[in-house]
Subunit: 236 residues, 2 copies
DNA sequence: ACGCGCTTGTGAAGATGTGCACAAAACGGT
DNA sequence: ACCGTTTTGTGCACATCTTCACAAGCGCGT
């Protein structure tokens, strides 16, 4: 066979290699920061100005020690004996996550899922702006979804370079996903959020995150099965 | 305050405590098995009857050693010097995940996302059957989505007990999610897949998995930021 | 029948993530 | 000014996950 035996077997790999060596923030922590951020935002709206690690941790569904360790990676915000200043912490987490910058996003595939994503509140707020809704089906082109006009996939490269898009969301059928991904990457996108049930292959300097409904269901099925096995054993 | 200081701070907790002690399959492995399963199914459809760990691992986007260790937890299927029999492995993984049983699923919330989920192919196949589509909005009740009639949320308990539903999918707005979750759990559901951007609290014997679009985006933003920092440094 | 090349399965080492327990620090009341 | 209470920040031990490296096993050609 002609294919290189050693293609790419790094999991979430990005350019450098080791996670978090530069920033000191580990992958696991990064995955939890958005949760803290949401809880904090909600607290701020409720007029709370200070939280303890215990309260915040409970609201976020983690242990207090983990929370404190996570936050300590950003710096020593927080006052001993008192807690954390909500607004200040919101700002610090936002900054750590890079949400003080603005990112342009294109969504490719305007089926039910694509429409749901386009309308999703989380996209509009917090530094993300959907600058393109693309679909291969000309019947859908021209319609307005969440105030954005659907354009044809042919315009993918144009839109990406016009708006300096760095994040692409793939909500196409499985068959089209790799092609779309290649075009996104070719046009300069460096982060991809993939909803299609396929494993995408990309260069090392591109990040891919996968959201896969059927995988989540299957994981739940595993635990369901385990529960019923335990039940049977308890009976016997 | 009257609330118990120690509420629930276990991460994905289920009844027993330690993960995988009974089955010997670790959480990380379980999360990858569905990926292998999909790749294998696709290979089987292409007429491939045998794969090596290297080929399968590349197709699944993991390293070969990890793949072999994962599979070794299910048993010693696979032949040294040859590889794995595709069909046999499909069966074994399906069995390990509990997909040889059938699960009834209800989807609550029939907005764009709920509709996308209802139509999603992964739900119909592989042991899952959507037996209920529920919405609180009477304007939507009665319409047909993916061949299933939308019923009113009031019927939640009825449908769950009639069909012995064990898995509930929450695709409602954030505000309604915890109430819906409580009702699902109250009616006997033991696994929940949550798409609403809130942290659900449930009894220890109920599994919750969360899918959160805005969290995924924020994680990508973090890596984007890190990339641009590295760039700057390279220039300076 | 035998040896050679290939690929699995796995022990052991290393990396990453988690939880405990306590010292350090800040506030408030006296 | 000081002491007690509260809560952070973190060193350390433990658990989990990943990766390496290689022995054990299998099939094929001779």
């Amino acid at each position: 066979m002609t294919m290189t035996p050693r293609s790419s077997h790094s999991p979430n790999s990005r350019a450098g290699g080791r996670p978090g060596r530069r920033t000191g923030i580990s992958e696991a922590t990064v995955a939890r920061l958005p949760v803290y951020l949401r809880v904090l935002t909600s607290l701020a709206e409720s007029g709370v100005s200070t939280v303890s690690s215990e309260v915040l941790a409970n609201a976020a569904g983690v242990g207090p020690a983990k929370l404190r360790k996570d936050l300590s990676h950003l710096g020593s915000y927080g006052t001993r004996g008192v807690g954390y200043d909500v607004e200040f912490l919101v700002y610090q987490i936002s900054r750590a996550l890079g949400l003080t910058q603005h990112y342009s996003v294109v969504i490719v595939g305007v089926g039910n899922l694509g429409q749901a994503l386009a309308g999703y509140a989380g996209f509009g707020t917090r530094g993300f702006r959907v600058v393109g809704l693309l679909d291969a089906d000309r019947a859908r082109v021209g319609s307005l979804i969440a105030g954005i006009e659907v354009r044809h996939s042919d315009e993918l490269e144009t839109i990406i370079s016009e708006h300096d898009v760095s994040i692409g969301v793939i909500a196409t059928p499985a068959g089209a996903a790799q092609d779309v991904c290649d075009r996104l990457v070719g046009a300069g996108v460096t982060s991809v959020l993939n909803f299609a049930p396929v494993v995408l292959s990309v260069p090392d300097d591109v990040d891919v995150r996968k959201v896969d409904l059927s995988i989540e269901l299957q994981i739940l099925a595993f635990h369901e099965q385990r529960k019923s096995l335990v039940e049977q054993e308890a009976v016997g």
